[in-house]
């Protein structure tokens, strides 16, 4: 496959997707899909998906990746890996879902208040800031961003957890956080402006 | 522009496994670098070190010995005898100052066309990186 242009937007979303997915070990197995539906029927959440996991690959083949990136399908994947272990063609479908999530964010396919992307982005920010994640901080910021009113309904459980010492409020920051940032910026340099960094459209 | 170095590899292939596997690669139209000159023998057991050294002394940059997988030899265990001899051969090459990557012993079954192609491909690349072997010293001519 020819090298990708530094600006991935020069390419079709299908090409960008394939470039990324083939770079995962065993990623090219996606070509072997026989559309048997084992993934869909193994998936605990496919019942709630706009498109079943099998239809994700069918859409890709039909040049209709757009509709998948806009759909709720990718954000319903809970990473249980049933599809991956059972797939008779060896397609690493969970990795495919991760890749689609990244592309959806990178290419601006997600709505601003869509919960799953928001929590993922928050997660990344907090980890980048501290080197670790503090769940309490994550959850509270998430609630404020998505649905401040619903936060109230969480209060009873939060209070119970707090009483039991399960709500540590001060996040831990690792000592090597600055070093880690250096490593991270090295990665950004190597991989180019957008490639695989997951910078969102706005950020870029 | 400097011309790309095309390594010359001599392949001693046993007729039952590696040669048939190499044929299968062709029949299946699997592509690999055309840098290998196959020489068919009945069994890798026939390949004595003189033949390998002769190839290197005559201008080959590498030698591939291709036989059946252990346990699959048509002549019971000729390939195992080759394996033992191969270790000695490697020591010999070492003494001559020849990189041991230039001579490979590989097991390729009659059904492993793809594998044969990949072996030749990786070997060609490896030798391309090593560069040409200019090894025509006097003592060598004596041995071969």
């Amino acid at each position: 496959m020819p090298e990708m242009h530094a600006d991935r937007r020069q390419h079709s979303i299908t090409d960008v997707f394939l470039e990324d997915i083939y770079s995962i070990p065993g990623g090219d197995k996606i070509k072997d899909c026989i559309q048997c539906g084992t993934c869909s029927a193994s998936c605990p959440t496919s019942y709630a998906m706009d498109y079943t996991p099998r239809e994700v690959i069918a859409s890709l083949r039909a040049g209709l990746l757009d509709r998948v990136l806009k759909s709720n399908t990718i954000w319903l994947c809970a990473s249980c890996y049933y599809c991956t272990v059972r797939c008779p063609a060896g397609v690493k479908l969970t990795d495919v879902m991760y890749e689609l999530k990244r592309l959806a964010v990178e290419f601006g396919y997600v709505e601003k208040r869509a919960k799953a992307p928001v929590v993922s982005k928050l997660f990344v920010d907090l980890v980048d800031k501290n080197g670790r994640i503090a769940e309490v901080e994550l959850v509270s910021k998430f609630m404020i961003k998505t649905n401040p009113l619903a936060a109230l309904s969480m209060m009873p459980r939060a209070w119970k957890l707090f009483k039991r010492g399960r709500m540590p409020l001060i996040p831990h920051r690792i000592k090597g956080v600055e070093e880690l940032k250096k490593s991270a910026s090295t990665i950004e340099e190597i991989s180019g402006l957008h490639a695989g960094t997951g910078k969102t459209a706005e950020e870029a | 522009m400097q011309e790309k170095f095309e390594p010359k590899i001599v392949g001693f292939l046993c007729r039952w496994c590696a040669y048939t596997g190499a044929d299968l690669a062709g029949t299946s139209r699997i592509k690999y670098p055309p840098n290998i000159n196959p020489i068919r023998v009945n069994c890798t057991g026939r390949v004595d070190p003189t033949l390998v050294l002769k190839a290197l002394a005559s201008g080959a940059d590498g030698v591939l010995i291709g036989g059946c997988h252990p346990g699959d030899c048509h002549y019971t265990n000729g390939n195992i005898k080759t394996l033992r001899r191969f270790k000695l051969l490697q020591n010999m090459l070492d003494q001559f100052g020849i990189e041991k990557e230039r001579v490979r012993l590989e097991w390729v079954s009659a059904s492993e066309g793809e594998r044969y192609a990949r072996v030749v491909e990786s070997m060609t690349e490896e030798i391309r990186n090593l560069g040409p072997l200019n090894w025509k010293r006097k003592e060598m001519e004596v041995i071969a």
Binding site: T45, R102, A116, V124, R166, G176, G198 | -
Partner: protein
């Protein structure tokens, strides 16, 4: 005979935060078993699924930093969170299989004066306890057998999937075995390795509740009195969301959820407090008093 096996220990963010009891009980039990857990100095987030969903290379970097730190210690790296297990193992595999990825990560680590050669083995504590410590050692320390307490072993997803290196990805048996050793009666139920919903409980609550409800119902129908967990996230969903499940589906679940380390600790005679059992939202005291000789 007193032997100790040393491991590097990676608690993971979740255990450091809302699931301290897991960490606490793991340390107590390991000490008793002569398994020396040395916490990995300055470890960072493993780059778990939420991170991986946004940034691929940097998720691998996060994992690789931990692996590089662990490599210096020259010991196997033990985790208690299966998600950390999968994330770290995945990076291990992918670096080994993809030279380009390896080069990128190596260069990035170098910027932080780190190096990773790929030699660290990542293991889940359950597997260490079952395979390295073993039946005899565990049985010999039992002071307070669980006396036929009916426990549903819950494996969740990522202990065995996708890699399947430690147990069967469909029907694992490791925890069943362990529960038997400490006197409990492992409940056989078909959903033991199914998904609890994971992070969906935050982002898509109705789906998360559905999956968790199915698990609770199936364990109960098969006679479970409590559920043993090996994952902080599963634990959270099964335990802290039982109320929500009941509200959402009109059910009436009150089933205690205990970490496998807490159950071992109880069998070894440790107090509930020292194992963090007091922190739970669904009380287990009454149940434990029914089965254990001494409940402290």
């Amino acid at each position: 005979m007193e032997t100790t096996t040393k491991f590097s220990y990676y608690p993971g963010c979740s255990v450091e935060g809302m699931n301290k009891a897991y960490d606490k009980s793991a340390r107590v039990v390991c000490e008793a078993l002569g398994v020396d857990l040395v916490e990995l100095n300055d470890w960072n987030c493993c780059g778990a699924s939420a991170y991986m969903s946004i940034r691929e290379l940097r998720a691998h970097l996060l994992s690789a930093r931990n692996l590089a730190l662990a490599e210096k210690e020259k010991k196997d790296l033990v985790v208690v969170c299966p998600a950390c297990l999968t994330t770290l193992t995945k990076t291990n595999h992918y670096i080994a299989e993809n030279p380009r990825l390896k080069k990128t990560i190596t260069t990035a680590l170098k910027a932080a004066n780190l190096q990773y050669y790929g030699s660290v083995k990542v293991r889940h504590l359950l597997e260490v306890v079952v395979n390295d410590v073993g039946e005899n050692e565990i049985k010999s320390r039992i002071k307070n057998s669980l006396q036929d307490l009916k426990v549903a072993p819950y494996y969740g997803c990522q202990l065995t999937r996708p890699f399947g290196e430690v147990d069967d990805p469909e029907f694992p048996t490791m925890l069943d075995k362990l529960l038997g050793w400490i006197g409990a009666k492992p409940v056989s139920y078909p959903l033991k390795a199914k998904c609890c919903g994971g992070m969906l409980m935050m982002t898509k609550e109705d789906v998360g509740l559905e999956l968790t409800k199915n698990l609770l119902a199936c364990a109960m129908e098969n006679g479970a009195e409590c559920i043993a967990t090996i994952c902080p996230l599963c634990h959270m969903n099964l335990e802290a969301y039982q109320d929500n499940v009941n509200k959402h589906f009109g059910t009436d679940f009150h089933i205690p959820i205990l970490y496998f380390t807490q159950l071992i600790g109880l069998a070894f005679g440790f107090s509930r407090k020292s194992l963090g059992i007091d922190d739970e939202l669904t009380p287990s005291k009454a149940l434990l008093e029914k089965h254990l000789e001494v409940v402290r």
